[in-house]
Symmetry: C2
Subunit: 138 residues, 2 copies
């Protein structure tokens, strides 16, 4: 499904992410001037798209609002994310997230402790890492 065909989207699609994603993702920040040291953004991943390994100095909360996605913390297996799931990612924990191979995936990203700084980006997620969920759950 192309994002532009998603007529049920809650938020505007936003800009295509220029880097740190494998595949097409669209990012829309929903707060211009954070009042409570907390940022809110919406991210749409097209099928197969994921971001690179990264961490957040202030941690992150993901609220899954459409489709099916993957989430992985370094050293743990990939976790399947369904619409309605909410996950908390501790400060400085290395992880990645994105869509499954066959589904678009949309999450709201809540960034507490914004004054601690933005994400720290690391290596892209390899095909082997991305495909490990299917191999382990085949």
């Amino acid at each position: 499904m192309k994002t532009s065909e998603n007529q049920n989207a809650i938020f505007p699609q936003g800009q295509k992410a220029p880097q740190y994603f494998s595949g097409d993702a669209f990012v829309k920040m929903l707060i211009e001037n954070p009042l409570l040291n907390t940022t809110i953004g919406n991210v749409v991943f097209e099928p197969g798209c994921r971001n690179s390994w990264h961490s957040h100095p202030g941690g992150q909360i993901l609220i899954c609002i459409n489709g099916t996605g993957y989430f992985q913390e370094k050293g743990k297996p990939i976790q399947l994310l369904q619409t309605g799931d909410v996950i908390q990612i501790a400060e400085n924990v290395v992880h990645w997230h994105g869509a499954t191979p066959d589904s678009e995936f949309t999450h709201i990203a809540v960034g507490p402790n914004a004054d601690k700084g933005g994400p720290v980006w690391l290596d892209p997620v390899t095909e082997e890492e991305y495909n490990s969920y299917r191999q382990e759950n085949a």
Copy 2:
């Protein structure tokens, strides 16, 4: 529209709020054990339902995900909230929110600074206060 008829809900409906609401509202907390000093909940207001005047010691962010709602800070006119709107409410600012008379309304409520404590509840919103939007925008 009855909430039970909403087949597109992202989150489970949750429990009917026992107090501090005029009309029927359903509250579902989405994080059991806050890791980042931030709570996340989902609130569904049936048409005409609103909460009482209140404030949050740690502030609040509302992410509107379905329907049309009202929001008012003490001393200011009612503001119309549409699906996709995100508003920030400063610490200790007295306010209320809820559905418009003719639409169900759903928002995610983000509670930063959870260690500062839960909401401080005040008086119910009167019919005159609730109806002021229609009177001023007739």
